[in-house]
Symmetry: none
Subunit: 500 residues, 2 copies
């Protein structure tokens, strides 16, 4: 069986290498590629993705898995090899259900749709885009039809991002969350608003960049195994556990953009860098799911990076860096400013208290689309109605409404809830971490993050993709994904800031 | 047969895509990859190269070629399709001789070796690097063993860079060249030396960079289809005829380094960008050979970029850019300074009169290594002895000696002579071009390069890889590669500068 296992790992190494190469091609496309390179890049990516897919669905792989399953059943179920067979069998089972014609059509439709989206968003013209979305939704329905009937059709899509999670689970979590978040926002709205005007000034871009670099160096980001570049939409990507790169954007007139996106992407990168060598080149590297990944990025961005102890350490040097802009802004005021709660139109700019409501709105729309209970033409109206209901603001145009995110238009249906789930998991983990490291706030106040990073590596990062998200969260926190810690966190934090 | 041809092109498109992806991986390795990424990059490159090699050696490809050869024989022998079958058959014949295990090992060894080279060069520590070079030379011997016995074992390696050329041809050309170049250098040494001290001053790096960008923009480099980055050893690489990128280096205290390496790499890039769409994705893009490629880079760098008419146009704005350094240096003096002949240690910084001697030294060492007449440990000593013999200078350390070039450490054995051959071809072409465009010096004086670029595109670039180098040179100049025009050029130019 060891020989079979070695054969399996050889195939997986090849798949990993091809995917790593494809990921570099994508990284380059979003950072340095000149515009003329687009067509050839499309061909190269298409070829690599086809080569990977052929291997992921080969009968050789299928036969090896069939032979290895009884053997894996005799092993410690949490061992690397047992999990390897389990996870790869799950991937194989899913990949082989989807006909290659669908894969090709999906690639074609979404390539055109993304282009159309850019134009539609620029012109704020939803009808221009809706035929593309019709096709994407139809492809979603067909995708679902390849799988055995689930409790809910949306389960099939959700499973691609959160393996093992059900639509009903997410709905139950969000149902517990929604009224409490709405209540909190209403209470905040009754109180005097905090001032954040000092964040909206001219800040030298190079100085911003360097400050961000200082922060994540202290977090423990290893520049020997990573780098930071600029990108229109910040992202993190890795080509091994020794080369995980981040991107950021720097707004010349708004400090938050760089600071928090840098910390956010660094959180993702630390997860990738913490994946152990033993899980490399067997497709078990990376993270348990998008929600668990997001729990890491949001923890470093928010629970660390938007906390008072963090700024007790970093604010004096931020003031030194920008004396004319911040020299007269006291720490407490700065802390309030970066945590200002204000219902707004754009998800990626939303504060911690309102963010999840943007997600819930999107999830409800996705589910309705997959239940065929919502017509594409009615999307803008439904969007705007829900925005009014949840956040009390209505987009003046579709660019700032239903057209704002690229996800659907890239074919990502089932993705959005992972952002909110990640927020919840970050707070669950934070409670456990603070019990394990009782002086963590004091450490952060001193600019020390090694105990925190060590804990995350030991409890989360080192497992790579071995466990399903609910399994991992249960293992580490003692319960499944739960809204209560996040609500406690929000109420405590914003209760203090707004004097509730 | 059209169907067979289409099948052939489908296979070649896949090979092109895989190779284009591998080339991007290499570009990244030399520009942006963090050091930690090296091992995984070696795996990824190894896998891609193996996948390309499998396709390049597949019986499907072999059978198609067998079926297509009689058909190709009925076509115009210079037509794209006839040449396609011929060139691809030559590639196939060579590739099928090399086992995949060798290809994978080569990729892994050279990836690690390049990383080690950077460190070894930084520390000027040859012994640190020599185990890597042992492996590379051993891989060279094994490579040669896969082929039928040639007139000289080195022929096998040379053919990879100069298809159709023999070691004896190169030796004969170099034998004609060496005494004349040595004679010229001696004559120059009798004359008063020109002053170039003004080139060795502090020059703002950003201003240098921008000046280089201005020059190559005027040459016709299309930034929509390219970009420039920094690299320790400047190089050019393309992923299609719409994405050809250059790299350069900027020395803070020496102006020549950036100016001439930028023009040099641009010359390569213009060749790649001039490859027609019809030759894309069928492995006929790129250039006829490295010598022909080098004829392009050296032409823009030297025949254009080190000429008096060129600086009649650009020097006033260079003086404006660096008034304190060059304001009091007259054009004639500047022209002499950038053309100063002085035997020196570093090949890439060598002047036109001594450059080829650096190459001859390297060629002799390569040949001795392939004849097993030289041990790796003796390399630094042999290097230094030959430097003394040919150029009268001895490197004070290995960083400025045997470790200066990346080529061997990337596995390129058989490569160096192409640089000197390229010099010769550049002068051969230059004589023809100046007959075709009699007012070319006046055009250059006005900063106009479109007629020159147009000629090169028409006569050289548009043929991609269709012709062997000697064939192409013969076609364009009426003779094979020949030392005489280059010697005429050197004698005329340096006779004037040094008053011989």
């Amino acid at each position: 069986m060891n020989q079979k296992l070695a054969q399996l790992k050889t195939i997986l190494a090849e798949i990993s290498d091809i995917k790593g190469a494809a990921d570099l091609l994508s990284w380059d496309q979003q950072t340095y590629m000149p515009p003329g390179g687009a067509e050839a890049r499309g061909n190269q990516l298409g070829t690599l993705q086809r080569l990977a897919h052929e291997r992921q669905t080969s009968s050789e792989l299928g036969n090896l898995l069939t032979e290895l399953k009884p053997f894996a059943a005799t092993l410690d179920p949490d061992s690397d090899d047992a999990r390897l067979v389990k996870v790869v069998a799950r991937d194989y089972e899913k990949a082989t259900r989807v006909p290659s014609e669908w894969v090709v059509e999906f690639a074609q439709v979404t390539t055109l749709a993304q282009q159309a989206w850019m134009e539609a968003r620029a012109k704020s013209d939803f009808p221009m885009f809706s035929p593309h979305l019709e096709k994407i939704v139809e492809l979603g329905h067909r995708y679902i039809s390849f799988f055995p009937k689930a409790d809910h059709p949306y389960d099939i899509l959700l499973d691609n991002f959160e393996p093992g999670m059900k639509t009903a689970d997410v709905k139950a979590i969000f149902d517990a969350l929604r009224p409490k978040q709405v209540e909190l926002i209403k209470a905040i709205a009754q109180k005097p608003q905090v001032d954040d005007s000092f964040l909206h000034q001219a800040f030298d871009e190079k100085k911003q960049w360097d400050f961000g670099v200082d922060i994540i160096t202290k977090f423990g980001y290893d520049w020997n195994c990573g780098r930071q570049d600029k990108a229109a939409h910040p992202f993190t990507t890795g080509f091994s556990n020794h080369d995980v790169r981040i991107t950021t954007r720097v707004a010349p007139n708004f400090l938050n953009s760089m600071i928090f996106s840098t910390m956010h992407e660094c959180g993702h990168a630390l997860y990738g860098l913490g994946s152990p060598d033993a899980l490399e080149r067997i497709t078990l590297d990376g993270g348990a799911s998008l929600a668990v990944h997001e729990s890491q990025s949001r923890m470093w961005e928010n629970l660390v990076g938007r906390s008072l102890p963090f700024w007790e350490h970093f604010y004096p040097r931020l003031q030194e860096t920008f004396p004319s802009q911040l020299g007269n802004v006291p720490l407490e005021k700065f802390y309030q400013g970066i945590n200002k709660v204000q219902p707004s139109l754009i998800r990626v700019e939303a504060d911690e208290a309102t963010y999840n409501l943007h997600i819930m709105l999107r999830l409800e729309i996705e589910i309705a689309l997959m239940e065929s209970k919502l017509a594409i033409k009615d999307l803008p109206e439904v969007w705007n109605t829900k925005m009014q209901e949840y956040l009390g603001v209505v987009p003046p145009d579709d660019a700032r409404g239903v057209l704002q995110d690229i996800h659907w238009f890239s074919g990502y249906m089932g993705y959005f809830s992972t952002y909110a789930l990640g927020n919840l998991v970050s707070a669950q983990l934070w409670e456990v971490i603070n019990r394990a490291i009782p002086d963590l706030p004091e450490q952060i106040r001193q600019g020390k993050f090694d105990a925190l990073l060590g804990w995350l590596r030991e409890k989360i990062h080192r497992h790579g993709r071995k466990f399903e998200p609910q399994e991992l969260v249960q293992k580490v926190t003692g319960s499944k994904i739960d809204a209560a810690p996040y609500l406690r966190y929000l109420n405590q934090k914003f209760g203090q800031i707004y004097g509730l």
